[in-house]
């Protein structure tokens, strides 16, 4: 039962829409820049 619940939880996490994933990744990158992990991003 608990395995099912964990499995369902993992499944629903991966079922986040593409939009939501893009927002999460963009915010993670912004956080890494803000905290100084990425100090300079070349172009």
């Amino acid at each position: 039962m608990s395995e099912e619940a964990v499995g369902a939880g993992t499944g629903s996490l991966w079922k986040l829409s593409l939009d939501t994933w893009a927002v999460l990744v963009a915010f993670l990158l912004a956080l890494l820049v803000r905290t100084g992990v990425f100090k300079h991003v070349p172009w």
């Binding site: 829409s17 893009a22 963009a26 100090k39």
Partner: protein, 361 residues
């Protein structure tokens, strides 16, 4: 017992496998995009060193053209396709990060003007495409899909509407093919027309955001003109995207009233489900930038991350466009789409021209 044993073995592996499957295609996006960037830097310098007259071609165009050449000659092998399809993901992440380059006040000012233009564009485009669909005797649901694809936001709008109005797979693939083919044409014609008419960055950015259907193509068409035009095209296109839920809801209610689709239960939940979340992410990053959450160097770093994400997007736009496959989709929906797009491009250009006279752009 067997269930208990299989669940923990299989499920944790699936996401990892999915992740591994995208790697080759993402690497291809990186290679094609970076090659475009290198070509921009080196071809111009080489031509200058040899005293050749050669136009300055931006990395945007190089990346798209390289992708198009690969897709339409050797083709994109199966192993790369899942990863190439992630270009939509990079596009949306890039748009969110681009929010750092906008101050909230600018968004409200430009967003307010563009919201009015977007509302006029959507109403005009939906009405005209519906008229054309009837004139060419297309199936009503196919007409709806083409109308939504042209008026709001290309492929995403078609996919969202297909589910809501229970349209055929065939109709949606016709519509998607037509919108993609026309988007690819717009990519090359919009900048040429913009330069021929000497449009300002502001006017052109508005026009690209209003007139080009797919978000990736609108972003690329804007960036091909100038950095400032690209920024504005993304803002206007995002405003259009934000309208998707309302348009799809209206069509879902219409087709349900005819007994040809399921009735919509909770309308607020429906709107939230269809609302493009990256628009919220874009606004939130802009709020953070406006209130100095990031310093100047950090905003520069976020802008560059956004450019890298767009670079992968532009490579993906070229790689996923195959003119041979588009040709197989049939002439009539394409003709309706093409006529509609030309008229909508002219209509939106007139809108932008009128607005630029009023606001003195």
């Amino acid at each position: 017992m067997a269930d208990v044993l299989t669940v923990p073995q299989v499920r944790p592996v699936q996401p990892a496998l999915r992740f591994l499957r995208v790697i080759p295609g993402v690497l291809l996006l990186v290679v094609v995009g970076y090659a475009g960037k290198l070509l921009e830097q080196n071809v111009g310098a080489y031509a200058k060193a040899h005293h050749w007259t050669f136009p300055n071609i931006e990395y945007v165009l190089w990346a798209i053209v390289l992708g198009l050449v690969i897709s339409n000659t050797v083709g994109v092998p199966e192993i790369f396709r899942t990863g190439v399809a992630t270009y939509e993901f990079w596009l949306k992440a890039g748009i969110v990060l681009l929010g750092a380059r906008f101050l909230l006040g600018d968004i409200l000012k430009l967003g307010g003007v563009s919201l009015v233009l977007v509302a006029i564009e959507i109403a005009g485009s939906l009405a005209f495409m519906t008229f054309l669909g009837r004139l060419f005797k297309l199936k009503p649901k196919l007409t709806t899909l083409l109308a939504v694809g042209s008026a709001v936001c290309g492929v995403s709008a078609i996919i969202a509407t297909k589910g809501a109005i229970e349209a055929d797979d065939e109709d949606s693939s016709f519509s998607i093919a037509a919108i993609l083919a026309l988007g690819a044409l717009a990519l090359f014609t919009f900048p040429l027309i913009g330069h021929a008419l000497h449009l300002s960055d502001h006017a052109y950015g508005l026009w690209a955001g209003l007139g080009v259907d797919n978000t990736a193509e609108a972003t690329a068409a804007g960036a091909l003109y100038s950095d400032a035009a690209g920024k504005l095209a993304v803002l206007v296109k995002s405003t259009r995207n934000a309208m998707i839920g309302f348009v799809v809801l209206a069509y879902a209610i219409y087709w349900a009233s005819k007994g040809q689709a399921q009735a919509v239960g909770n309308k607020a939940a429906f709107l939230w489900q269809k609302f493009p979340k990256f628009v919220l992410g874009f606004l939130l990053i802009s709020v953070l930038a406006t209130y100095h959450f990031f310093n100047k160097d950090q905003i520069g770093a976020l802008a560059n991350l956004s450019r890298w994400a767009f670079l992968l997007t532009f490579a993906g736009v070229g790689l996923r466009t195959n003119f041979g496959e588009l040709r197989k989709q049939g002439l009539r929906p394409f003709a309706v789409g093409a006529i509609g797009e030309v008229v909508i491009a002219g209509f939106t250009l007139a809108l932008v021209y009128g607005a630029s006279k009023i606001f003195g752009w």
